[in-house]
């Protein structure tokens, strides 16, 4: 009867919106009509967020991306039905909804089940579980018994870069195929080995795996610190500084030996020698002082 036609109208409307975008954008009016008001035989998963730039909510943006991935995976999955919808309410578009639900933090993920009132577990514990799409999918599966397989859009950057690199090497080798002497140049090999070693010992793998910030800006004083305070972590800027210092000490040692063995004139060799030993001592003492700044309790200068 009229209730059934109303319900089927609502479902059709929701499906139409979902076909245009996987995450339906709702304002207060749409929310009241399609989520709060009966009849409803579908459940809705809503992200309450604040994406306007002046709100300065970085977490909201990251969570929004993950939510989009989740909703897209649902839309293109084989188990897609009209029983589950994904929606979002922005604070600036639907602040009355925020007030009605007594919500004061963003982002928040709520599940409105098709039957009954939302319970405590229908609020997603963002603090505990994080906003990765896989975690959200687990929560969705827990609440709605619908399994969503997360499919992320394939990242072509890696293979593309590799392909480009191989093409460049191939082109170079082809161009210089009659003159491959540079492969036999020991200095080239020595230099590249040295670069690799210096990169590794300055902690670049740690950076690659843990992804720390470049430097830290103290919000109250505005002072930028390039060295992390504790010995358990490091900044990217810090690793570059250490890389530079290590390279300087190495160069100093090499210069010292070159000064003693090369056949340039005596003045130049003396300068090289002094420069070498100066580099070694200066940069090593700076390295020591950085180390002491991080490792509290180290007693030696």
């Amino acid at each position: 009867s009229s209730v059934l036609t109303l319900l089927s109208e609502k479902v059709t409307q929701m499906m139409e919106w979902a076909s245009k975008r996987s995450v339906i954008r709702m304002n207060g009016d749409k929310f009241r009509r399609f989520v709060k008001a009966p009849p409803r035989n579908y459940s809705v998963l809503i992200m309450f967020t604040a994406l306007q730039p002046q709100r300065q909510c970085g977490v909201c943006r990251q969570a929004d991306e993950e939510f989009q991935v989740l909703a897209n995976s649902w839309r293109y999955s084989s188990a897609f039905t009209n029983k589950v919808f994904f929606a979002s309410v922005d604070f600036d578009e639907g602040s009355d909804v925020f007030q009605m639900l007594n919500m004061n933090s963003a982002p928040t993920f709520l599940h409105f089940p098709s039957k009954g009132k939302p319970r405590k577990s229908d609020t997603y514990e963002l603090q505990v579980r994080g906003f990765a799409a896989e975690q959200l999918a687990r929560w969705v599966a827990d609440r709605t018994d619908v399994q969503i397989r997360i499919i992320r859009p394939p990242n072509y950057a890696g293979p593309l870069l590799l392909g480009f690199l191989l093409a460049a090497i191939g082109g170079l080798a082809y161009l210089r195929r009659h003159n491959l002497e540079f492969l036999f140049n020991k200095s080239v090999w020595a230099f590249s080995a040295l670069c690799f070693v210096l990169i590794m010992t300055s902690g670049q793998m740690w950076n690659h795996i843990r992804g720390p910030p470049y430097a830290h800006k103290n919000p109250s004083t505005g002072q930028v610190s390039y060295i992390h305070g504790s010995s358990q972590a490091q900044f990217v800027a810090e690793t570059h500084i250490v890389l530079l210092f290590n390279a300087a000490v190495t160069m100093g040692m090499v210069l010292l030996c070159e000064a003693a063995t090369s056949d340039m004139d005596i003045g130049k060799r003396k300068i090289m020698c002094v420069a070498g030993i100066g580099l070694v001592m200066l940069f090593f003492s700076w390295l020591l002082s950085i180390f002491r700044a991080k490792y509290h309790g180290y007693p030696y200068r």
Binding site: G203, E238, V254
Partner: protein
């Protein structure tokens, strides 16, 4: 000073001093505390060695340990690298044969320092092959005191790495010697040393991949020679057969991807040698180059396919730098984290800055051996960057290359120009004695700073036995916390010999070693489901935990609690890992989110989650703690947990199925006894049927039954009153 006699005396005395320095700088823990086995893993090694010396070699090789991983047991003979135990057992046997009665524990404690001296000698030999004698002596001195190696070989740290680094260096020395001379004698020596390395440590995979890589790069650089062919062919075959003799390794060398590189290079080498042979017979050179290219391409593709097909294991994970590991147990070990630059500097000091210079010199003056050391340096530095634990494999090569760098500098700057064999033609050609002596002095100063740093690091960071804790008061006097040993000895002396103790897996080896009791899970962590069961028992409430404990026949439960003294490595701090591991196997019963407050915090005070406040671990940690007034100031309330800095939420704890058996002096170790099932389950009030108090005997029923019935009535009425 040209007579060779002086030179060898000097070398000998320097080496002797290096060994002595290495030995003595590892003795801090023994002098401060006593000669005791440290940490956790060495206790298992000690127990196995003890078993070896009491029962003999074949008993050890076939040992099935039923006192670990109850009720599963553990096949020790087939899951352990026997080299360490056999070495210690052999030394003990030889000493006792000479009537020098030394206890096996002392042999185990002092084995690592003795082998560090041997490592210094083998590093000297290796560096002398690579560069010259001066560099060798410097390298020996460096590796004797460098902290990166000391961390795993202090006196008391009876672990595989202590002997493995010696075996590594010695194998590499013999390999370099065999490539240089091309004689089968040195190669067989290398194989025997490799066999010892395989028996000692799982890191032998490094050798079996570095040596083929070396041969491959030599082929690429067109440095092929008969020596390389003889050396590698002999090494591969004999080494393969010998390495398969260790039960733990078994058939892995011909099945797993980590060993396929060696096989690939072997095949390639045979093909290349055959082509070289043909080339001497035929003259079609262009055809040969093409053929060679085709063969190498085919070999490379086979190699890549094999790697792709067996894309598994920790080794390949390292290659693709995936340090984020999905199995919670591996993720929870702090040694498997990537390395910050601070760790590099802390462990190697000036050596990390100067070894690139040594690498530069090696590559500029390249020959067959220096290719090897360059490859060693590059691969070791990559692995050390990915995992902190592998800093140990980087340390020897860093010592060698820095020694090369320093030795080059000293060679040119030390000593008088006029006394050299080839004095410079003009007096102005030399740099002048002033500059030279300044440079020499500054370099020596750097080296002295290095020595001081090493000693400081060893003394402060790497010399704690971690079985005995020490804290220092304001006036410098020492406060020793010997709770662990106190508790383990209580267990040893006051419980039945076949009692079973449940604890978290960290303490399994120590309980088995010191208390000599059967444990449920230990540091071997080979069975994740069993550990998850223990984790589930710890995180459930008392009745559910009691069911699990009854099914596992547990008699005692042991936990570590640091709230009284502020010890931060206790079980409540590890509790979330127990929950995560349990949730991995039993996701329907245990949910990590239940143990957090609604705001997502982990709190032990009144605001904490009720699941946490009623779980077995919480109750066992804080039993009777509510009445305890912790010595911190008059204003701290009773029941104030010093580690979490919070007043506990549940002070009135009562146990139904456990009773407290022992708490150590500073409440660090708490042992609870699991009560047996009651004879009769007492019923709740509501479920009891009320029986009238009069005696009632039916004439039709025999008196016996009536008597029993009356007894029942009497009992019930007694209960009611």
């Amino acid at each position: 000073m040209k007579q060779p006699g002086w030179q060898s005396l000097l070398s000998f005395s320097i080496l002797f001093l290096a060994c002595l320095a290495g030995f003595s700088s590892r003795l801090f823990a023994v002098i401060r505390f006593e000669s005791i086995i440290h940490e956790f893993d060495p206790w298992f090694n000690y127990r196995s060695t003890h078993h070896l010396t009491t029962n003999g070699f074949y008993e050890f090789l076939n040992w099935f340990d039923e006192r670990a991983w109850y009720p599963l047991g553990r096949i020790v003979g087939g899951t352990v690298y026997p080299g360490l135990m056999v070495t210690a057992g052999l030394i003990h046997y030889v000493l006792n044969l000479l009537h020098i009665t030394v206890h096996i524990r002392d042999v185990c404690v002092f084995l690592a320092p003795v082998f560090s001296g041997l490592t210094a000698i083998s590093t000297f030999l290796l560096t002398r092959e690579l560069w010259n004698q001066g560099a060798g002596l410097l390298a020996a001195c460096f590796i004797a005191i460098v902290p990166g190696y000391i961390s795993r070989s202090v006196a008391g740290s009876f672990d595989n790495e202590g002997i493995a680094i010696f075996a590594l260096q010695f194998t590499y020395y013999l390999w370099v010697k065999s490539v240089k001379t091309g004689s089968v004698f040195w190669t067989i020596g290398c194989c025997l040393s490799y066999f010892y390395m395989v028996s000692a440590w799982g890191g032998y995979v490094f050798i079996i991949n570095l040596i083929p890589l070396h041969v491959f790069v030599l082929l690429l650089m067109q440095r092929y020679s008969r020596r390389v062919y003889i050396a590698y062919s002999t090494f591969y075959i004999v080494g393969l057969v010998l390495s398969m003799q260790i039960p733990f390794v078994g058939f892995q060398p011909i099945r797993t991807s980590e060993h396929m590189a060696a096989a690939g290079v072997f095949a390639l080498l045979q093909a290349y040698a055959f082509l070289q042979y043909l080339k001497d017979r035929l003259t079609r050179q262009e055809f040969q180059t093409l053929f060679f290219l085709g063969v190498s391409l085919a070999a490379g593709m086979v190699f890549l396919t094999v790697i792709y097909l067996t894309y598994t294991g920790l080794y390949v994970r390292l290659l693709t730098c995936y340090a984020k590991i999905h199995i919670p147990i591996i993720a929870s070990v702090s040694e498997h984290q990537p390395t910050t630059w601070v760790s590099f500097f802390f462990d190697l000091h000036i050596l990390v800055c100067t070894f690139p210079a040594g690498l530069w010199f090696c590559i500029k003056n390249i020959n067959d051996e220096r290719v090897f050391v360059a490859l060693y340096a590059i691969s070791a530095v990559y692995f050390a960057g990915v995992m902190v634990r592998l800093m140990l494999t980087l340390t020897p090569v860093v010592c060698m290359l820095s020694a090369v760098a320093f030795s080059s500098v000293f060679e040119h700057y030390m000593g008088d120009d006029t006394k050299r064999e080839k004095p410079p033609e003009k007096a102005e050609e030399g740099l002048g004695p002033n500059i030279k002596s300044i440079v020499t002095m500054l370099m020596l100063m750097l080296l002295m700073m290095f020595a001081v740093h090493c000693t400081w690091v060893t003394s402060n960071a790497y010399s704690s036995p971690s079985v005995v804790l020490a804290s220092y008061n304001h006036d410098g006097t020492r406060n020793i916390l010997d709770d662990f040993r106190e508790a383990y000895y209580w267990l040893r002396q006051n419980t039945d010999e076949h009692a079973r103790v449940m604890s978290w897996w960290d303490y399994g080896y120590q309980i088995a070693g010191m208390a000599n009791r059967t444990t449920l899970v230990d540091n071997n962590t080979w069975n994740n489901s069993h550990i998850a069961l223990v984790g589930k028992a710890m995180s459930s409430n008392e009745s559910a935990a009691y069911q699990i404990m009854r099914s596992l026949d547990v008699d005692y439960v042991l936990i570590i609690f640091g709230g009284v003294i502020g010890y931060s490595g206790d079980d409540i701090n590890k509790f979330l890992w127990m929950v995560r591991i349990a949730e991995g196997e039993h996701p329907k019963d245990i949910r990590e989110s239940d143990y957090f407050t609604p705001q997502g915090e982990f709190r032990v005070d009144k605001a904490g989650s009720p699941t946490l406040l009623n779980c077995l671990m919480y109750k066992m940690s804080y039993y009777r703690f509510g009445e305890m007034q912790v010595r911190r100031g008059a204003l701290t309330p009773p029941g104030f947990d010093r580690t979490r800095n919070a007043e506990i939420g549940n002070k009135d704890i009562k146990f139904k199925h456990l009773e407290e058996a022992f708490t150590s002096e500073h409440w660090l170790v708490r042992i609870y006894k699991v009560k047996k099932l009651d004879n009769r389950e007492p019923l709740d009030h509501k479920l009891r049927s009320v029986v009238p108090k009069q005696k009632y005997t039916s004439k039709k029923v025999p008196l016996m039954l009536g008597g029993e019935f009356a007894l029942q009535v009497w009992r019930d009425s007694f209960r009611f009153s």
